[in-house]
């Protein structure tokens, strides 16, 4: 596979490629250029990863609006802190790690806020507004598609706490390896394994009761 690259670099690279060698060399160059502040290099660098980043955010946050915000925020943060990237892990792992953390931080923050605001807004007019936000899982479409397994699973995942949710998204939906996940979540391999185990079991339990409920409704 001959790989010709002429772009913002201004030079012509013609390389014989076996595997991803040229990719990682070019990536290193792009990383360097991004570290010195070049926006175009950075955009080229993340172009291979931004879709997946967006999807991770989507699966963790549960809706497109949030996914877009979180993904952009995360990529911006990647740009800001790219100087600190020392190549200890692969660039993609580092990028997805930031994405995951940004999403999880936001979830935790919302959890705290929601807890407080729920209590305090029951009497006020804005209480209803909050109720609506909380129950966006119960949009009409999902109600009608309740019987769809896929939607059941999606809903079950969204109900998981952020630790379980993140490992399910990263492992079962995105397909990252145990090592990559331990890197992204910054915890040990053993923690990752046990968390995946418990998350899957929890998912299973949820779906069991959901299935029963849907059966009841059908009747």
């Amino acid at each position: 596979m001959v790989y010709i690259c002429e772009c913002i670099l201004g030079d012509r690279f013609i390389e014989e490629v076996e595997g991803g060698n040229a990719v990682s060399d070019m990536e290193k160059l792009l990383v360097k250029k991004s570290q010195s502040g070049d926006v175009e290099s950075f955009e080229l660098l993340i172009s291979s990863y931004d879709k997946r980043a967006y999807n991770i955010a989507y699966r963790v946050m549960g809706n497109e609006e949030d996914a877009k915000d979180m993904a952009q925020e995360a990529l911006l943060r990647v740009f800001k802190s790219i100087k600190d990237f020392k190549g200890q892990s692969s660039f993609s792992t580092w990028l997805y790690r930031i994405v995951t953390n940004v999403c999880l931080d936001e979830l935790r923050r919302r959890k705290n806020e929601k807890y407080v605001s729920m209590d305090s807004t029951i009497q006020t007019d804005s209480g209803e507004l909050h109720m609506e936000l909380c129950s966006d899982k119960e949009t009409p479409e999902i109600v009608y598609e309740r019987v769809e397994q896929r939607e059941l699973i999606k809903r079950a995942i969204s109900e998981l706490n952020e630790d379980y949710k993140s490992v399910i998204v990263l492992r079962d939906i995105q397909g990252f390896s145990y090592e990559e996940i331990s890197n992204m979540l910054d915890c040990s391999l053993g923690t990752v394994k046990s968390r995946i185990n418990r998350a899957r079991n929890m998912l299973r339990e949820k779906l069991k009761s959901d299935m029963e409920l849907s059966r009841e409704n059908r009747v």
Binding site: E43, D66, Q72, I196, N197
Partner: protein, 445 residues
């Protein structure tokens, strides 16, 4: 194997993370146990469905929006980057520290230079000949230094009570450095009050300065000539110069017999007019020409009178003009005569007051120094203990330490003064950032 154990292993089995022994155990159990097998298949199902979730596309605006934000971020970085980046911060703090050290050094050394001049005179001003000895001098010098501050305080306090007359005490040659003087003034007294040590031209006040001194010199003729030259080269003039030879009978002990000898003593009286801004340097210069017996300096602040008189003159001039106008409307000789009389009166007054102003101008611009010189035989001069080189070096050393300490004190005070401002700024910016971030995230919701 118990079902519970098997259930815990299913997840790892699906991920192919079991060793061979565990694997065969599990597979064996699954063939036997239907419930566990169902669990296994259910889980496999769920995971398979999860794995089949389709990847959704990036929204249309995603990359363009991100581009905007990246460009904004880059602009911000360029603006703050050179200031906040770590390496530069270290260099900047280093430079600031170096600048501080240099500033203290300059401040103390300039104080030192000024005090050196005073030093040679303060020892001379010790009472009596042969009285002061070198070791004692530094101590008194230090005290002198300190008491000077006290005196200054009092002076400033007195001046704050708005007395036009400011009389100084002996040895106001201290701290001629205008910067340090202003500084100590602003610390000791809230207002910068003009004392005789501050140039009247700088503060905009009209001060007539006069100095008097009495100096014993080796040769009156030489000293007089030097003084004359000094005065004239500085742009002033010698208003009055008088040299006397007086023959005085003196009782002396010669070879055990009391004898009366006639001694001729030489005296000189000089009055100098020197430019006000060179007043102090010339004064100190002349002090150094011999042994100082006594000195004093005073300043007469006539700003108020000057301004009053100026205002008066202005008013009179206006009156003159209006009289002139009335004159043109006069109809008969009687009226003309009356107006003439009035005009004359006004004009005479103007002349008198303008004369006053001119006289004051002259006095202010040229300060007066009155000098009384007395010739003293060299032996008598020598009998006074002048601190030798080591004595002076020691005094200089002490002075330098004093000045450094003072310099440090002042720097410290400045820094401490700045702390409240820094705290306020810090708090405001933290609050600002915090609110900004909150608003940003609230918008997203």
């Amino acid at each position: 194997m118990k079902c519970e154990t098997i259930r815990n292993m299913i997840s790892s089995y699906i991920d192919k993370d079991l060793n061979d022994i565990e694997k065969t155990e599990l597979e064996k159990h699954l063939t036997e146990c239907e419930q566990c097998r169902e669990e296994y298949e259910r889980m496999l199902d769920i995971i398979a469905i999860c794995g089949n979730f389709e990847e959704i596309e990036l929204p249309q605006s995603f990359r363009t929006e991100l581009h905007q934000r990246l460009v904004e971020e880059k602009k911000k970085k360029n603006f703050f980057g050179s200031i906040l980046r770590n390496k530069n911060m270290k260099m900047a703090t280093g430079l600031v520290a170096a600048a501080l050290v240099i500033a203290i050094g300059i401040g103390s050394s300039s104080l030192l230079f000024n005090n050196n001049m005073k030093m040679s005179q303060s020892t001379d001003s010790a009472p009596g000949y042969g009285g002061a000895t070198a070791p004692a001098a530094p101590a008194s010098d230090a005290d002198f230094n300190f008491t000077m501050r006290e005196d200054e305080k009092q002076k400033i306090g007195a001046a704050a009570a708005e007395q036009p007359q400011i009389t100084s005490v002996e040895g106001t040659g201290l701290a001629k450095n205008s910067i340090s003087m202003q500084f100590s003034e602003s610390i000791l007294a809230d207002r910068v009050v003009p004392s005789e040590a501050v140039d009247s031209s700088r503060s905009g006040r009209m001060v007539i300065r006069t100095g008097n001194m009495s100096v014993n010199v080796a040769s009156v003729d030489k000293a007089a000539a030097d003084i004359r030259q000094l005065t004239e080269s500085s742009g002033g003039y010698v208003e009055n110069s008088q040299i006397e030879n007086i023959t005085v009978p003196q009782v002396q002990d010669v070879d055990g017999n009391t004898a009366v000898k006639e001694i001729t003593e030489k005296y000189a009286n000089m009055t100098l007019r020197v430019p006000e801004d060179k007043f102090e340097s010339i004064f100190n210069n002349i002090k150094g020409m011999g042994k100082l017996v006594n000195e004093n300096m005073n300043g007469n602040d006539i700003t108020a009178q000057y301004r009053d008189t100026t205002a008066r003159v202005d008013n009179l001039k206006i009156q003159e003009q209006s009289l002139q106008q009335i004159m043109t409307k006069a109809k008969n000789v009687d009226e003309i005569l009356k107006i003439e009389t009035e005009l004359n009166r006004v004009r005479t007054d103007i002349d008198i007051y303008s004369g006053d102003l001119k006289r004051w101008d002259n006095l202010v611009q040229l300060s007066t120094i009155n000098i009384y010189l007395k010739e003293l035989k060299p032996e008598e001069l020598k009998s006074v203990d002048v601190p030798g080189m080591w004595g002076k070096a020691y005094q200089g050393f002490i002075k330098a330490i004093n000045n450094i300490v003072v310099g440090l004190e002042k720097t410290f005070i400045v820094l401490v003064t700045a702390i409240p401002y820094l705290i306020v700024i810090g708090v405001l910016s933290v609050v600002g950032l915090f609110t900004a971030r909150k608003i940003k995230l609230k918008k997203k919701q």
